[in-house]
C-alpha cells in the first residue's frame, strides 16, 4: 500500500469526508509532508472504490455545486488496520536493529572503544 493511499484511508477512518476535506486531512496527518493534488486524489478514490475499500456516503449541493462525501467501508477499515499492524511491526524491527548498531557513545561520556579497553584492563588485572 502506498503512502498517499494509506493516508487517504486514515483520513476517512474517523468520519466521511468530501474531496477537499480529504486533501486537508492528509496534509494535517502527514505534518505537511504529503500535499495531494486533485488528479492523484481522484485516481486513488476511484481505485479504492473499485477495490471496495471506500464507498460513497452521500452527496450534497453546496452553492449549487455537487459535493460527494466518501467513507471507509468495513473491508477498508480491515485493510487499514492490517497495514497499521504491518507498519508497526516493521518500525519496531527497524528500531531494534538500530539499537544493535555500534554507535560512538554507549553512555554519555563513555564510547564503545573506551568500554572495551576498560573491560580488557579488568580481565588482565592482578587476580
Amino acid at each position: 500500500m502506498q503512502e498517499p493511499t494509506f493516508l487517504i484511508l486514515t483520513a476517512l477512518a474517523a468520519q466521511p469526508l468530501h474531496g477537499y476535506g480529504v486533501i486537508q486531512s492528509v496534509t494535517t496527518l502527514s505534518d505537511g509532508d504529503v500535499n495531494l493534488r486533485a488528479g492523484t486524489l481522484y485516481g486513488a478514490l476511484d481505485r479504492l472504490t473499485e477495490q471496495g475499500l471506500i464507498e460513497i456516503d452521500r452527496e450534497e449541493a453546496v452553492d449549487g455545486r455537487l459535493r460527494r462525501y466518501y467513507r471507509l467501508s468495513d473491508s477498508g477499515a480491515g485493510a487499514l488496520s492490517a497495514q497499521v499492524d504491518r507498519l508497526r511491526r516493521n518500525a519496531a524491527a527497524a528500531e531494534a536493529q538500530l539499537r544493535h548498531r555500534p554507535t560512538g557513545e554507549i553512555l554519555p561520556g563513555l564510547t564503545f572503544e573506551e568500554l572495551r579497553a576498560g573491560l580488557r584492563g579488568l580481565q588482565g588485572g592482578p587476580a
Partner: protein, 345 residues
C-alpha cells in the same frame, strides 16, 4: 465572478479524462478544484494544468482492476492496431507515388515496332504494383529504344552486354550464341528495366516498370505504427470499462466477440509486421518497393492456406470488431443509471 472563468478552465482540462470518468467524477472534481483555489484566482497554475492533464491521460490507460485477460487483450489490441496502422501508412504513401504510364505505348517505344506484345500487371504480397511486358523482335537493337526513351524524358543508365552460348540440347548440334542486353531508366518517380535476350533467330525484349518510393513510405509506416500503438491501449481500456457495466450475458458475449476479432486479426497483423521489416530492409534497392499493405493482395504469403488468407481474415476480423463495438453501445431503451447525474462532459 472570477470563479466562472476558473471553472471554465478546469472543465476544459477535464476533457483529458475519459468520458465515463468525467460523467462520474467530473462535477465533484470541479468542486474540489475550486475549493483548493486561491480566492480571486482566474486561471489554474501551470503545474496544476500539467498534472491534471497527465492524470487524465493516465486514466485513459488504466484497465479495470483484477482481470488478467483484459491485460492480455490490451497488449494484443495494441500490437494489432500498430500493425494495421503501419499498413494504413503504407497504403497512404503509395497513393502519392507516380502512376504508371500506359504500358502498351511504352512497349512500342522500346521495341520499336507494332510487334506482338504480352503484358501483365503483377502484384505480390510483399511489394507494390509492377508492370511487366515483353515483345518478340529478332532485329532489336538498343540504340533506337534508348533514343525514344530519352526523347520521352527518361534518364538512362549505360548498357551492359553479355555474350553467352545456349546449348541446343540435341547431340551433334552446335550451341547457339546469344547476347543479353540490359539497361535501366528512371523518370520522375518511375523506374524501368529493359532486358533483351537476342540470338540469330529470336529476340525477346522484357520491360519492367514500377513506381519508386518518393521518400514518404518509411515515415508514413512509422507514423501509422506509432498512432496505432498509442490508440490500442486506451481503446481496450474504454471497451473494458463499458463491458463491466453491461448485463452479464451481454458482457460475456461481447467479450467473446472481441476475443474472436483479436484472433482473426492476429495473422494479418503478423503479415504486416513481416512486411514492415522487409520495407526497411529493402529500402533504396532497385526493385519495386516493399510495402506493408501488399500483404492483403492475393498471393502465397504463407506456406499454407489459400492465397486470400490475409484479406479474408482481415474482413472477418473487421466485421467481428464492428459487431463488438455495436454491442458496447448503450441500448436506447435502458433505464438511466443512478450515476448519470447531469455532470461535466
Amino acid at each position: 465572478m472570477s470563479d466562472a472563468s476558473l471553472e471554465r478552465h478546469y472543465r476544459r482540462l477535464l476533457l483529458a479524462y475519459p468520458r465515463r470518468y468525467r460523467r462520474h467524477h467530473g462535477t465533484d472534481m470541479v468542486t474540489t478544484l475550486l475549493e483548493m483555489a486561491e480566492p480571486g484566482q482566474t486561471r489554474p497554475a501551470r503545474a496544476d494544468v500539467r498534472h491534471l492533464f497527465a492524470s487524465g491521460v493516465r486514466q485513459r490507460f488504466r484497465l479495470p482492476a483484477g482481470r488478467p485477460l483484459t491485460w492480455a487483450a490490451a497488449v494484443l489490441t495494441t500490437l494489432i492496431l500498430g500493425a494495421f496502422g503501419a499498413a494504413t501508412g503504407s497504403w497512404l504513401a503509395t497513393r502519392t507515388f507516380t502512376t504508371l504510364p500506359d504500358q502498351t505505348a511504352l512497349l512500342h517505344q522500346v521495341t520499336g515496332t507494332d510487334t506482338e506484345t504480352s503484358q501483365l500487371r503483377d502484384t505480390t504480397p510483399w511489394t507494390g504494383e509492377a508492370a511487366y511486358g515483353s515483345a518478340q523482335n529478332p532485329n532489336w537493337t538498343a540504340e533506337p529504344a534508348r533514343q525514344a526513351l530519352t526523347a520521352a524524358g527518361w534518364h538512362l543508365s549505360p548498357v551492359t552486354t553479355r555474350h553467352s552460348t545456349t546449348a541446343s540440347g540435341y547431340p551433334g548440334q552446335p550451341a547457339t550464341p546469344g547476347t543479353e542486353i540490359r539497361f535501366d531508366a528512371h523518370r520522375d518517380g518511375l523506374a524501368l528495366t529493359v532486358d533483351a535476350h537476342l540470338s540469330p533467330q529470336h529476340g525477346t525484349v522484357h520491360l519492367s516498370t514500377w513506381a519508386q518510393d518518393n521518400g514518404t513510405l518509411l515515415p508514413a509506416i512509422v507514423l501509422g505504427t506509432l498512432t496505432g500503438l498509442l490508440l490500442g491501449w486506451p481503446i481496450t481500456a474504454a471497451a473494458a470499462y463499458r463491458i463491466r457495466h453491461l448485463p452479464t450475458t451481454r458482457a460475456r458475449s461481447t467479450a467473446a466477440l472481441s476475443a474472436l476479432a483479436i484472433a482473426a486479426l492476429a495473422l494479418p497483423a503478423v503479415a504486416f509486421a513481416g512486411n514492415v521489416i522487409r520495407a526497411f530492409r529493402h529500402a533504396g534497392q532497385p526493385w519495386p518497393p516493399s510495402t506493408v499493405h501488399s500483404a492483403l493482395t492475393s498471393g502465397a504469403y504463407y506456406p499454407f492456406g489459400p492465397t486470400w488468407l490475409n484479406l479474408g481474415l482481415t474482413l472477418l476480423g473487421l466485421t467481428l470488431t464492428a459487431t463488438t463495438l455495436a454491442g458496447l453501445l448503450p441500448r436506447p431503451t435502458a433505464a438511466p443509471q443512478p450515476d448519470q447525474i447531469p455532470t461535466v462532459g
